[in-house]
């Protein structure tokens, strides 16, 4: 028996919007600690990890660990039917092959039940070890979204390099080049508008903008985004969900191949 009641239903809507472009089908794992998901995109270049802790729900009941395979497009379709102020309850019976989303309007005068079929998905679960990152950049999520969008109109890939001066995003395309530098800036009125750079070592990595752009779909979830970079590790782009958990994206870097012209 599973019953999760989330007062701020719009949160779940936003979560779905933030991952459905990247992943088609995924298993949602429910345990006593929370509601989580880990899934890779079809090309195995990007990974999304979602965690909604049980404390964030008004009511959280999960008798035993279960994994529910869902088609995210279909799930998003159903959640679109929920109003932004609605309370969403996720329900599933043991052994059942459906999940029910219940939407209650804030005034309790309308209750809607949506039942969705589950599916069997065999997906690989990747073990992600804790790592020390060379550089961690925290910046306004809207700013990061804007940069990715702008650069993708010029080129396909972005080089993100962190130095003492700041973080630089640069791209190159057929029509020309673009460079955007963001300096550390903590003298702002609101803390979420700050750009904070923690750097142990300078680092420079190349990524496909296509994926970064789909990550920025999570911007509505959080005012700030944290980008953790380390050479020879996938970048982590994290959007914290207030008091509940996070959506984290991992993206494998592009590897510059050695231009060796030695061929027998």
């Amino acid at each position: 028996m599973l019953e999760l009641r989330l007062v701020q239903g719009s949160l779940l809507k936003k979560v779905l919007e933030s991952i459905k472009d990247l992943v088609n089908d995924a298993n949602f794992d429910c345990s006593a600690t929370g509601f989580s998901l880990q899934a890779m995109d079809s090309s195995h270049v990007a990974l999304v990890a979602l965690l909604l802790r049980s404390e964030g729900f008004e009511h959280y009941r999960c008798d035993r660990n279960i994994s529910m395979g869902m088609n995210l497009t279909n799930m998003a379709k159903m959640l679109k039917c929920a109003g932004n102020d609605d309370i969403i309850t996720i329900k599933a019976d043991d052994g059942s092959d459906t999940v029910t989303f219940m939407f209650e309007s804030p005034t309790q005068d309308k209750i809607a039940d949506f039942e969705m079929k589950l599916m069997d998905i065999d997906s690989e679960h990747l073990g992600i070890p804790e790592a020390e990152y060379h550089a961690i950049v925290r910046m306004p999520s809207a700013e990061f979204g804007r940069i990715c969008k702008d650069l993708s109109s010029i080129g396909d890939t972005v080089v993100i390099s962190v130095t003492k001066e700041g973080v630089k995003f640069s791209t190159r395309g057929d029509i020309g080049t673009a460079n955007i530098v963001c300096r550390q800036n903590t003298t702002v009125d609101k803390p979420e508008e700050a750009t904070v750079i923690e750097m142990n070592e300078p680092v420079s990595l190349t990524f496909a903008l296509r994926y970064l752009n789909s990550f920025t779909k999570a911007s509505p979830l959080s005012n700030t985004v944290t980008i953790s970079l380390s050479s020879e590790l996938p970048v982590v782009v994290e959007y914290k969900i207030a008091e509940m958990g996070y959506v984290r994206y991992y993206l494998a870097p592009k590897i510059e191949e050695d231009e060796e012209e030695t061929k027998p």
């Binding site: 298993n27 794992d29 429910c30 345990s31 890779m40 079809s42 090309s43 195995h44 270049v45 990007a46 990974l47 035993r64 660990n65 279960i66 994994s67 529910m68 599933a92 043991d94 052994g95 059942s96 092959d97 589950l118 069997d120 690989e124 679960h125 990747l126 073990g127 992600i128 070890p129 496909a208 020879e232 590790l233 996938p234 991992y250 494998a252 870097p253 592009k254 590897i255 510059e256 191949e257 231009e259 060796e260 012209e261 030695t262 061929k263």
Partner: protein, 413 residues
């Protein structure tokens, strides 16, 4: 070719070991391709009708070059790193099979001659297909082409490929339909040996015995034993030896000279190239000038098409630089969450054993990483003992072979 009826057997008994995958999802992977098989396919399919072949001005066939060129570009564009594997010396045990194929081709040549006389178009088409043969010249042409394109080639003894026997050789993963034209939209079929074994409830050794019983290139099958019976027998008795002991000798005629032990050894320890120089794989930039010279001047290709294709190779190189997450994070077994239909009854004891075995198979460190080609891995790891083994092996086999020839001729009489 390969193991008789294995594909169907697996589909029936171990469906979880087979997965349909999108062509695109293999980008960044190194994939070994059976070159001889590909060339053979090209010679049959590309630009051939009846006895006419696609040729250059000098009258030499170029079908294989056309096919190889466009297929390789398609792979590169998908970000796949192909390695072409050329047939080396066939193992002695395979000679019997090869002799059979040879005589079949002879028959076909005769039939073709008859068909041409009578002018039966359907027959001409049918028999000319059967007379197609891959010559060393074809192999060399393709090697040259691939070298110019910057794609590595490897020469291996005992090759595995679209042939289902790749699995028996211990390839951890094996792809089928990868090479089908994109227009057909057939999903790539991925076979995962560990899952196959789990599905069949067999160990790797038992799986090899099963394949030998089904009939492989290296020794004949026993009359009356098909894949289904073979699976039943191996499951029941556990190994080839006890199968042979317990089998009803009246009902099933075991051939007098049935080298199952040899075949088994061959599957376990294929003979491989031990030359270190060859096992280093590199994908270099294409040699533009060389390609134009070879294809346009020597083989009458259209210059526009070739230059366009070279452009494609160059852009493809850029794409293949995208890393995959698996090279950073390793998959973990999903032990935690129970599936919602979690009350399934599972037979535990046999699958435990097989699982352990296959895991050890996978973790073997290899030059080629996740490559589907197994023999190469062995080569770099066990170079010395293998080469020593080879000499002992062949002399022993020579004798066995003579015997089998004698036996065969007797039967014919």
């Amino acid at each position: 070719m390969g193991i008789k009826g294995l594909m169907k057997l697996l589909a029936d008994n171990a469906p979880s070991g087979m997965k349909e995958q999108k062509f695109e999802s293999y980008f960044g992977r190194k994939i070994a391709i059976d070159a001889s098989m590909s060339i053979y396919q090209f010679l049959i399919v590309v630009g051939r009708s009846g006895t006419e072949m696609l040729t250059n001005e000098a009258g030499e066939t170029t079908s294989h070059l056309v096919g190889m060129f466009s297929r390789t570009i398609r792979l590169l564009e998908a970000g796949i790193k192909p390695v072409y594997v050329f047939d080396g010396k066939p193992p002695d045990l395979k000679k019997q099979e090869l002799a059979k194929r040879y005589s079949r081709r002879e028959d076909a040549t005769d039939d073709l001659a008859k068909a041409t006389e009578s002018g039966n178009k359907e027959d001409i088409e049918k028999f000319s297909k059967r007379t197609v043969k891959v010559t060393p010249q074809h192999n060399d042409d393709c090697k040259k082409l691939l070298r110019l394109m910057g794609v590595p080639t490897v020469e291996v003894y005992a090759v595995a490929s679209e042939d289902m026997d790749s699995l028996t050789f211990g390839a951890p993963k094996f792809l089928r339909h990868l090479m089908d034209p994109s227009s057909k939209k057939i999903p790539v079929m991925e076979f995962d040996i560990s899952k196959v074994l789990e599905g069949l409830e067999l160990s790797m050794d038992q799986f090899i015995d099963l394949c030998i019983l089904c009939g492989c290139d290296y020794c004949d099958s026993i009359r009356g034993i098909g894949p289904q019976t073979a699976l039943k027998l191996v499951r029941q008795h556990g190994s080839m030896e006890s199968v042979l002991e317990n089998i009803n000798k009246e009902r099933y005629q075991i051939p007098d000279d049935w080298p199952y032990e040899e075949a088994r050894r061959l599957f376990k320890e294929p003979l491989v190239v031990t030359d270190d120089e060859q096992t280093e794989l590199k994908w270099a930039a294409p040699d533009e000038e060389g390609l134009v010279n070879f294809l346009v001047k020597e083989n009458g290709f259209n210059i526009d098409r070739v230059t366009k294709a070279i452009e494609k190779i160059k852009t493809a190189k850029n794409k293949s630089s995208q890393g995959r997450l698996e090279s950073f994070f390793k998959p973990v077994s999903t032990s935690a969450p129970v599936k919602r239909k979690g009350t399934k009854c599972v037979l535990v004891s046999p699958s435990h054993v097989t699982k352990f075995k296959t895991l050890s198979l996978r973790s073997r460190p290899g030059v080629l990483g996740r490559l589907i080609f197994p023999s190469l891995e062995l080569g770099s790891n066990y170079s010395v003992p293998l080469s020593r083994h080879e000499t002992a092996h062949t002399t022993e086999k020579g004798a066995a072979n003579k015997k089998s020839k004698a036996g065969g001729s007797k039967k014919k009489k």
